[in-house]
Each structure stands twice: as structure tokens, then as C-alpha cells.
């Protein structure tokens, strides 16, 4: 969390010099889609003079299937053929997916260096690698305590150089799948800056606000996503093209946060507003309450709601025939996405041990709502209608009123963690 770095030193729990080890295992599963297993370890060394070193290592094993962006076929549930193939038995109302499997390895390191009593600087670097993606980056952040340490100002920046090298080459955007792919890799650069202010209102209440902006340049398209072309007569998809996104993206966000110590509990409330020049606008509201169960255990329920407006080039499908627009994507993550999350964390000390166990379980439901932007339906031959074609096609195939729930995804996360000072 960005806020963590903007907490005034006075608000942070005094920590004795020494080593700290954290180990977590995370299981993430999307209903009938992706599965992720992520073991992670972090080693932190705090020095008496305020210096700190942190080293992290994470491995993600990802398997499963991901929606291709194509519309449900609406047409057939299976095929009759002389070739012996049954082609597809996915229901006419289901979203097409493609299977994938990947292993991601990530390492990071950071160093905190106090500069006098009021100022500190954090230097960080990270590298991660997966089958078709590599990311190398670094950052610098500096905090200064002001007004008798009641206010902390943080300023930071970072730079990432990523490389995308899709399996089988890079597809030409908005072209048939079968078009030849371009071998080699594609660069992607990300520069980020942030300014944060944290204010100790009183003994119990801490308020913070952080603004950040990042600028991305390079290959920002998802090489594995496609957009369906829809026959204007039947409104059923009859072909598909690869997706294409602009080569630059400017992203901004503002995060406001409040930490309030009640008599026994701690109440965390965050609100984030995000906007970018692709037209995505989102609101996130996040609530947590930490409640101690005696001295050795605690629970922390968690609720989050998220809503976003789609990117200007998001479409459910494009009309087959007229010239294609310059950019189009049917990726759910750029659509009118909503998510709700419920979860909780349970932490406890094993008697006689200095270590603490945490157990976190979360359930998230995500779905698309509303209409894609009108512009997509009227300009550049895009759209394929201004309503969610997936529901219309599913309703036609299933003979039911499409309520869209069938396109929602349930996601579960389970995390087991152990941290111990030594």
C-alpha cells in the first residue's frame, strides 16, 4: 500500500533492531478460470540507527483459463463433422476462454537510509520474469517529518522497463488471428511519481492522502485477447480479430485514508479515485476493522466495493463489414467492471513462540454492468450495438432473459502467513 510509506515515523510502532522473517502462501482461484499458487518470503533487517533492509522473493504458479474477449458463439453447442472432430461443446452462451500456464518469479530489495532525524530516503529495485514478460524497475522515495512530527510529507518516483515477448510472436492488432505474427519482443516503459501527506490529527486518528501519476509507453495491448466481429443481420459473431490498444497511457489516482483507534479496535477506511486517459474512471471503497481477541489473537473483517467506467475503446464486439476503428478491446478489465469483496483475517500467536500466524480468506465477485460507451457503437464501425451483446446472445441461445449473472466470476483467495522476529 502506498500509504504505508507515508506514515509518520511517530505513528509507526517502535520496532527493536533485528531480523524479521515473513513467509506467506497464497492460493487464488477464479471459478472455472485461473488458479494461482504463490509462496512468498520476505526478510527484513532493522538497524538501531534507523536503517532498514528488506529482501523479497515470490514465485507464482498460474494455471487455468482466461476469457479471450470473444463473444459467446450464440450459434452452436457442438458440431457435426466428417473430420471426426466435435470442435466445441462449450455452450452457445458461454464465454470462450483459452488455457494458459505460467510461472512468474519476482525478487525485490529496498533500503531505508535516515538522513538526519526528520528525513529518510528509501531506494528500491525489483525484477520479475515469466514466460512472455520481464519487468525491471527501481524507485526512490523520501519522507520528511514536519510540524513537530505531526505531518509527514513523502515524495517519490519510479521507473520500470518491461519487455513483452508473446508466445508465438506478437499479433498485428485488429487483424485476423491467422495473420502472421511478428517475432521478437516489445518494450514497455512506466514512469511513476507520487506525493503523499500524512497527518496525525490526535492520539487516536491518523489521516493520509496520496496522489500518484504514472505514464506508460510501448506495447500495452494484450497479445492473447481478441474482439468478435458480429454479423449485423443476425447479431451473432462470425469472425474475430486480435485486440489493439493505444501505445501510451497516463494514469492518475488519489487515495484518502483514515486510521482510527477506537477503545479496543482499529478502524481502517480508504477511498481511492482513479482516472486515466483511456477513459477508465474508478472508485474504490475499502473498510477494515481490527478487533483484538485478548492478547494473543485478533480478527479483521474486510469489505471492499469497486466500480469503474470503461475505456473509450472498450467494445463487446465490432460490426463485421465497415472499416474497423483504430483501437478496440473486449477485455473485461477495461469494461464497466464492478467487484465486491468480503473477507477476514485471523491472527494469533502460538503460546511460547514469538511468531505470529495470520490466516486470510476473501471472496470476490466481479461482473460487468451497463452499456459500453455510445461512441464505440457509432464511430469507426465499432460497437455491434450499444448493449451487452453477450447477454443478448446468451438469452437467444438459452431462451431465457439474460440477467448477466452467468458472466460474473467468483474469486476466492486464501492466505496463510507466518512472521517471526529473530
Amino acid at each position: 500500500m502506498l500509504l504505508a510509506g507515508t506514515l509518520p515515523a511517530a505513528a509507526q510502532a517502535p520496532v527493536a533492531a533485528g531480523w524479521q522473517l515473513e513467509a506467506t502462501g497464497l492460493l487464488y482461484g477464479e471459478q472455472a478460470r485461473a488458479r494461482v499458487v504463490e509462496p512468498m518470503g520476505r526478510l527484513t533487517r532493522l538497524f538501531a540507527n534507523g536503517r532498514a533492509l528488506s529482501l523479497g522473493l515470490a514465485v507464482d504458479a498460474i494455471t487455468g483459463a482466461s476469457p479471450t474477449g470473444a463473444l459467446p458463439s450464440g450459434q452452436v453447442q457442438t458440431t457435426t463433422s466428417a473430420s471426426g472432430a466435435t470442435t466445441t461443446s462449450s455452450s452457445a452462451s458461454l464465454l470462450p476462454t483459452h488455457p494458459f500456464e505460467d510461472l512468474r518469479t519476482a525478487v525485490d530489495a529496498s533500503w531505508v537510509e535516515p538522513l538526519g532525524t526528520l528525513l529518510s530516503a528509501t531506494t528500491s529495485a525489483h525484477y520479475s520474469r515469466e514466460q512472455d514478460y520481464a519487468s525491471l524497475g527501481g524507485g526512490l522515495k523520501s519522507s520528511i517529518d514536519l510540524l513537530g512530527r505531526r505531518v509527514t510529507l513523502t515524495v517519490g518516483g519510479g521507473y520500470n522497463h518491461d519487455r513483452v515477448f508473446p508466445t508465438g510472436g506478437t499479433p498485428v492488432g485488429l487483424a485476423p488471428d491467422s495473420d502472421p505474427r511478428v517475432p521478437g519482443e516489445n518494450p514497455k516503459e512506466v514512469a511513476t511519481g507520487l506525493v503523499g501527506l500524512a497527518h496525525v490529527v490526535n492520539r487516536r486518528w491518523l489521516l493520509g492522502v496520496t496522489a500518484s501519476e504514472s505514464r506508460e509507453r510501448g506495447y500495452l495491448t494484450d497479445p492473447y485477447k481478441v474482439v468478435s466481429l458480429v454479423d449485423p443481420a443476425t447479431l451473432l459473431p462470425d469472425a474475430q480479430v486480435t485486440e489493439k490498444r493505444p501505445a501510451t497511457r497516463r494514469r492518475d489516482d488519489v487515495l484518502g485514508s483514515s486510521v482510527y483507534h477506537l477503545q479496543h479496535d482499529i478502524l481502517y477506511l480508504n477511498y481511492r479515485y482513479y482516472w486515466d486517459d483511456w477513459g477508465v474512471r474508478s472508485h474504490t471503497l475499502d473498510f477494515k476493522l481490527r478487533h483484538d481477541l485478548g492478547a494473543a489473537a485478533w480478527v479483521q473483517p474486510h469489505v471492499r466495493v469497486y466500480g469503474q467506467a470503461p475505456a473509450w475503446f472498450f467494445v463487446y464486439g465490432l460490426t463485421h463489414g465497415p472499416p474497423l476503428p483504430a483501437f478496440a478491446s473486449a477485455d473485461e478489465r477495461l469494461g464497466p467492471l464492478r467487484t465486491t469483496t468480503f473477507g477476514g483475517t485471523y491472527g494469533f500467536h502460538v503460546p511460547g513462540s514469538r511468531g505470529e500466524f495470520t490466516l486470510r480468506a476473501e471472496f470476490m465477485y466481479q461482473w460487468l454492468v451497463g452499456h459500453p460507451p455510445e461512441a464505440a457503437g457509432t464511430s469507426g464501425g465499432g460497437g455491434g450495438g450499444d448493449h451487452d451483446l453477450r447477454r443478448a446472445i446468451a438469452a437467444e441461445a438459452e431462451g431465457t432473459e439474460g440477467n448477466g449473472r452467468q458472466f460474473g466470476t467468483s474469486i476466492g483467495t486464501l492466505l496463510i502467513g507466518y512472521s517471526v522476529p529473530f
Binding site: 450459434q75 463433422s81 470442435t87
Partner: protein, 277 residues
């Protein structure tokens, strides 16, 4: 059966779906074990290795042999379960292979249902001759599997074994199953047609991109047992709708065996059909 087998069941109950798939799989494996010519422990192996001796068969096998005999008769010998040996004389790998007339003649010497003696649950084949129920066995398995699913679950279902399929009952709300007709030029791409099926079967026959070039001429893999040569002038793909998959499959095969006369043959039969030239 060496091809993908799909079972669609209209239910919200995972237990019902599992029971349906298990019933279909068990029945498909049973039919395959019993009638595959690639095994050495079944009735087909016993018949093919009898060396001229008569072989007694059970009711189920007799039913299939009766059916094959009828097809042979009404097709004037074009449909023949003893014609499998002709495949030895041809290589359908899409390349130029001049046929060897001696190999074709040698194979033809071992072909001809009329040379078999079939009566009273007993089949006698001249030594060296073989039967192959592959031309009807898969379709029979589809019919049997669909029947078993209906017996076990009572749910509406559709069984599709390698592109030949049988539906038992419409989906809830009276909606038919939607079945695509594969584009023979691009298997796996968008289907050429959408057919609706609530009861009955669909089967498709065609050259399925298995062919040989003879002096630059493309010849499909369906052989006429009377000449030993591939049938010429047939549509790329013939799809037939009928009450059972075994009928639909046989009619589609018989149509292909008529070559350029496929469409007329199907019209005479009075069955719904779709041709792709």
C-alpha cells in the same frame, strides 16, 4: 473410438451430469471393446480369424450384421463391411501416390459381402476376408450412449462422438440443441450452418481432408468396393438428419458413395440433408 466424444446434458445438477457422462462413457467403451477391429479378444477378431469356419454371434452382433446386409443390398454393393482391406492399397496423405493396380486387384479379391454366408446367427467368411464395423459402429455407439443417458438420468441430452450425434429430447423450455455444420475446408473455424435438433440424429460424411493425388487429381478417401477406387465427384461434406445416428450415418456414407449422384440419392430417400460442394 479415436475421436473426441462430447455429452451435453440439460441439467443444473452436477450429480446428474456426472451420471450421464459415466453412463455414456461406459456404453461407448463397451461397444468399442465388442466391435473394434483393433482388439484380439472380441467377436470381430473371432470372425476375422476363423479361416473359413462358421462363427456363431450374439443378438446384438446379429442385429448389426443384419443391418449391414440390408445396406449392402439396397446400395447395390456400394456399402460393404468387408471392404476394409482395400485401404491397404491406398495412402491418403494428401500427396501424389500412383496406385498399384496389382495391390488393388489383390485387395478386391478379398472383398464382397455376397461371398459371405450369413444366416441363423452364424457368419461364415472365406479365409482371408475380414469385416470392419467401423462404418456403423461409432454411430451405433452414439445411439446406445444417448439411450443409456436417458435411462439413467431422464434428462434431455445430446451425445456427439467424433462429429456424429444423437439428441434425446429438447432442452428445458422446449429449446432445441444448436448444432453447427463444420466447414470441411477449415475444421475448427466458424461452422457453416446452424441446425436445430430436439429428437433424432445428425451425421456427416465427407473426404475430411484425407485424400490422395493421382496425376494431380484429388481423390477422397471413400472407396467404392466394386472398383477398389475412390469415389469421384462426391460433395466435400454430406450431413443427414434421421431418427437414429446409425441411419443418418449410413445415409450420409451411401450418398458419398453415389459420387455426383449424392443429392439425388438423398432426395429419393426423403431425408433432410445439407451438402457442401
Amino acid at each position: 473410438m479415436a475421436s473426441p466424444c462430447d455429452v451435453l446434458v440439460d441439467t443444473d445438477d452436477e450429480g446428474v451430469a456426472r451420471a450421464a457422462v459415466e453412463a455414456a462413457r461406459d456404453e461407448a467403451l463397451r461397444v468399442e471393446r465388442k466391435f473394434s477391429r483393433y482388439r484380439d479378444d472380441n467377436i470381430v477378431h473371432a470372425i476375422n480369424h476363423a479361416e473359413g469356419r462358421p462363427v456363431a454371434v450374439d443378438d446384438e452382433t446379429a442385429g448389426l450384421l443384419d443391418y449391414a446386409a440390408t445396406c449392402h443390398e439396397i446400395s447395390d454393393g456400394r456399402f460393404d463391411i468387408t471392404s476394409g482391406v482395400l485401404r491397404r492399397a491406398w495412402v491418403f496423405d494428401g500427396r501424389e501416390h500412383p496406385p498399384d493396380p496389382r495391390a488393388i486387384a489383390a485387395a478386391l479379391a478379398l472383398v464382397g459381402w455376397s461371398r459371405a454366408t450369413w444366416r441363423e446367427h452364424t457368419l461364415t467368411l472365406p479365409a482371408g476376408m475380414e469385416i470392419d464395423l467401423g462404418g456403423i459402429g461409432k454411430e451405433y455407439a452414439v445411439d446406445r450412449a444417448a439411450a443409456r443417458i436417458a435411462e439413467v438420468t431422464g434428462a434431455a441430452c445430446l451425445a456427439n462422438f467424433g462429429g456424429d450425434l444423437r439428441a434425446r429430447g429438447p432442452r428445458r423450455g422446449g429449446r432445441p440443441w444448436f448444432v453447427g455444420v463444420e466447414n470441411p475446408a477449415a475444421p475448427g473455424s466458424v461452422p457453416l450452418r446452424r441446425l436445430e435438433l430436439a429428437h433424432g440424429a445428425l451425421a456427416t460424411s465427407g473426404d475430411a481432408r484425407r485424400f490422395v493425388l493421382v496425376n494431380g487429381r484429388r481423390l477422397g478417401h471413400i472407396l467404392d468396393p466394386r472398383t477398389g477406387w475412390p469415389v469421384e465427384g462426391a460433395p466435400r461434406s454430406v450431413t443427414v438428419m434421421a431418427g437414429s445416428c446409425i441411419e443418418a450415418g449410413t445415409l450420409a456414407t451411401l450418398a458419398i458413395l453415389r459420387g455426383a449422384g449424392a443429392a439425388r440419392f438423398l432426395e429419393e430417400q426423403g431425408v433432410q440433408h445439407w451438402l457442401i460442394e
